[in-house]
């Protein structure tokens, strides 16, 4: 009886040990997966974000944002000099229309 109990205990502890090791292994695998996934994500983000910003800038998608930033910088400089602020900023629609009129009045596309 004692032997049986001892055997059953040792079987239980061996099973527990295996379970423990498997859990550790699963944790390590999933952790390394998560780690590499997050590394890949960070890498993809690092690569794609500048590309995205580049594409936006090349296609003039951020032209209005840049115009507003420029206005803020200019107003700040004017305020520091003690001058008065100029006219209000153009609306996105007006800025877009004016920018196109200017852009396409000179050679913009080549042969």
């Amino acid at each position: 009886m004692k032997d049986e109990t001892r055997n059953s205990d040792s079987r239980n502890s061996a099973f527990g040990l295996i379970l423990f090791r498997v859990s550790i292994f699963a944790f390590r695998v999933s952790f390394s997966f998560w780690l590499s996934f997050s590394r890949v994500s960070i890498f993809a983000f690092r690569v794609s974000f500048p590309l995205w910003r580049w594409l936006r800038a090349v296609l003039d998608d951020d032209a209005y944002d840049r115009y507003l930033t420029h206005r803020v910088t200019l107003s700040e400089a004017e305020r520091q000099r003690g001058g008065v602020e100029g006219s209000a900023a153009l609306s996105p629609a007006d800025f877009y229309r004016l920018r196109l009129e200017e852009k396409y009045s000179r050679p913009t596309r080549c042969c």
Binding site: W54, L55, R56, A57, V58, L59, D60, D61, A63, Y64, R66, Y67, H70, R71, L74, S91, P92, A93, F95, Y96, R97, L98, R99, L100, E101, E102, K103, Y104, S105, R106, P107, T108, R109, C110, C111
Partner: protein, 687 residues
């Protein structure tokens, strides 16, 4: 140690380039892998950029990192805007890369792949890039002034006037030549015509979206436009398969020419936001994407080049255009190696946006290297076709005959075997009724590109879709040049007419807009119409005229830059621009002379007119052809006059700049440069 390693690396790159060029130049009787073309070009560009452009930047132009640029000094948030160098390079490349480096090398492949490839690489490194770079640097030092203004101030008023006039003349001939490429690409092609026709309402929809619904959200609108355009390409096959719809979209050359003339007029006269700008966004996006995709496709597929290095047509008897390698290979390649038109961009928007003088090296020299690389890829795409197929697509009916049997027999007799069944099968695979008599370069380039793309994705099953995608890509950005060019031509004409009557100069006064738009489209439309009706395909006449005009502008730009270098250094570094300028004078003058006076009627306009007149006088022509022949004779005389005018402009520029150089060298004129005074930059070193 580090220095030695660097030196060894550059020696290895130089040897790699020489080896790759040797592999493609010395090949006899074996097929060459396209990879060698890419390796040769890349190595030469790297060496040229690393050493020659560095020499130009440091010694010749003396670019100064500490000097404030016009973008910094006159920053207004709209016109003068300091811009990140990579973004500006994207803008500059999208502006200079047009249909020229795709069409020119495709047409020049009739000489074999070697002459064109060599000129693309060498011409760009020593000529085209130097022109773009020096003009950009000079314009930065002069507050972003245009080439015409620089010519007027640094050389003479006469040179300035000639430059301004040359720009308008080039614009008109350029628009006619590229419009003819569109006509020949879409002629009797319901799939292609449907796709391009649909791109107009797509552009209008984008225009409305950008103007009223989401002002300025270009990427959103472009994403919608690209998705709709993909649908237009795919849906074209259903249109081509439907007998009723196919008939509606099967247009003759004349009908397509009229449609293009109407389109050009509309794009010039309508508000810019409605049609022109959205189409330009679509075109720029697709242009950048396809150029990178083509490079990746060539490296992935590594196709074998089927064209021999030199063909029998080096003697000037080519079916696509007549004339020997010198000067016609140089005239035909045009923009891929040296493009005068680039000097307008380099002295236009770019100098007003550059943050540092030193960025001009990457933007001016580097962008032109990329354009040349596009030309090399186009050459590869054209040369992966079987030569017989290439000539069958590009040869006009007036040379090889109107039927498939006649054409294939003529081409096979030249040593480039091809049979009607092969051409019929190829036409079926790409979803076209026929591929014969499609002079212009666009269809053969599209077949080559489709071959590369379909070997990467989709196989033969998707060949038709890829072919029409390539046609859409080519036509889309030719139309962008067409509408933007017509509009700029209109502004130039209004500027000129404004001197005679003020209201005509007002760019927002509608009677003036309609009058000047009509005048510009009538001017290029006339050349287009005569090209469409020309039994020799039109390209034989129009592309050389365009090449001469383009190289003329490059000659003017390089001559002006030589004057500036003489003022800067006297004779020491003037050879940098003087050598390519001299080469271009030789090319343009020889080509002009041959186009005017060559005894072969296929080359010389005068001889062609005389030949036709003799046929008329002999009474041998059928009555139905008499009126056409009389019109061809008038066209020949007009083309003769236009070529003479262009050659005359070259001579005026050479004479007036030469006089200035002489005055400078003997000390009769002070070397007074019109640069803006030095102002130190306020930007930190790392900006």
């Amino acid at each position: 140690m580090k220095k030695t390693l660097k030196a060894l690396l550059w020696i290895a790159i130089a040897l790699g380039g020489a080896g790759a060029l040797g592999a493609i130049a010395l090949e006899r009787g074996e097929r060459v892998s396209a990879t060698w073309f890419i390796v040769a070009a890349a190595c030469f560009y790297l060496v040229g950029y690393r050493f020659y452009s560095a020499f130009l930047a440091a010694r010749v132009l003396a670019l100064d990192e500490t000097r404030a640029t016009p973008a910094e000094r006159r920053d207004d948030g709209r016109d003068f805007v300091p811009t990140n160098k990579w973004v500006l390079m994207g803008h500059h490349f999208a502006a200079i890369a047009g249909p020229g480096p795709l069409i020119g090398p495709t047409l020049a492949a009739q000489f074999g792949y070697l002459p064109g490839t060599l000129w693309l690489i060498v011409g760009a490194v020593l000529g085209g890039c130097v022109q773009d770079f020096t003009v950009l640097a000079a314009s930065i030092r002069r507050d972003g002034k245009s080439l015409g203004q620089m010519a007027r101030e640094e050389v003479s008023k006469l040179s300035g006037m000639v430059a301004s006039f040359a720009v308008l003349a080039i614009m008109i001939i350029l628009l006619a030549a590229v419009a003819l490429v569109v006509v020949n690409a879409l002629r009797a092609s319901p799939w292609g015509t449907w796709t391009i026709a649909l791109s107009i309402p797509i552009a209008v929809l984008m225009g409305l979206y950008l103007r009223y619904w989401r002002p300025g959200r270009v990427l959103e609108a472009t994403a919608i436009g690209v998705a709709l355009l993909a649908f237009a390409v795919v849906s074209g096959q259903w249109v081509a398969a439907s007998p009723g719809w196919a008939q509606v979209f099967t247009l003759s050359g004349v009908a397509l020419a009229m449609a293009l003339i109407l389109y050009g007029f509309a794009a010039s006269a309508l508000p810019v936001w409605l049609l022109l700008a959205p189409r330009d966004y679509l075109s720029a996006f697709i242009k950048l994407g396809v150029v990178f995709a083509l490079a990746a496709g060539i490296l992935w597929v590594r196709p074998q080049v089927e064209m021999p290095p030199l063909t029998r047509f080096v003697d000037g008897t080519g079916p696509i255009f007549a004339g020997g390698i010198f000067p016609f290979c140089f005239i035909t390649i045009a923009c891929g190696a040296v493009s005068g038109f680039h000097s307008l961009i380099s002295s236009g928007t770019t100098p007003k946006m550059i943050t540092r003088e030193t960025h001009a090296r990457m933007i001016g020299y580097g962008s032109m290297l990329l354009e040349s690389f596009v030309g090399v890829m186009a050459m590869v795409a054209a040369c992966v076709l079987q030569p017989g197929v290439y000539f069958a697509i590009n040869s006009p009916a007036g040379i090889v005959g109107a039927t498939a049997a006649e054409a294939t027999a003529a081409i096979s007799s030249w040593g480039f075997p091809v049979d009607p069944a092969t051409m019929q099968n190829l036409a079926r695979l790409v979803g076209e009724e026929s591929l014969f008599n499609r002079a212009g370069g666009a269809p053969s380039l599209a077949v080559g590109m489709a071959h590369i793309f379909s070997n990467t994705i989709g196989g033969e099953r998707l060949l038709a879709v890829w072919y029409h995608f390539a046609i859409m890509f080519e036509v889309l950005f030719i139309l962008t040049v067409l509408d933007a060019g017509t509009r700029v031509g209109r502004f130039m004409l209004q500027d000129l007419l404004g001197h005679f009557w003020k209201p005509l100069g007002r760019t927002s006064w509608y009677p003036s807009i309609l009058l000047t738009s009509g005048a510009i489209v009538a001017a290029w439309g006339w050349f287009l119409y005569q090209g469409v009706r020309d039994p020799l395909g039109g390209i034989n006449t129009l592309w050389p005229l365009f090449g001469i005009a383009n190289q003329l502008l490059a000659t003017i730009a390089l001559a002006v830059m030589t004057t500036i270098l003489l003022k800067l250094h006297r004779l020491r570094y003037a050879w940098v621009t003087l050598v390519p300028a001299t080469a271009l004078v030789a090319v343009t003058m020889t080509a002009s002379f041959q186009k005017m006076f060559h005894a072969n009627p296929r080359i010389g306009f005068w001889a062609h007119a005389q030949d036709l007149s003799a046929q008329l006088a002999s009474g041998a022509l059928p009555a139905a052809q008499v009126a056409d022949t009389q019109r061809f004779i008038v066209n020949d005389y007009i083309n003769f006059g236009v070529t003479g005018l262009l050659a005359g402009l070259v001579l005026i520029v050479v004479a007036s700049t030469g006089l200035e150089w002489l005055k400078l060298l003997v000390g009769r004129r002070a070397p007074d440069l019109q640069e803006t005074p030095y102002v130190a930059t306020q930007y930190a070193e790392a900006d």
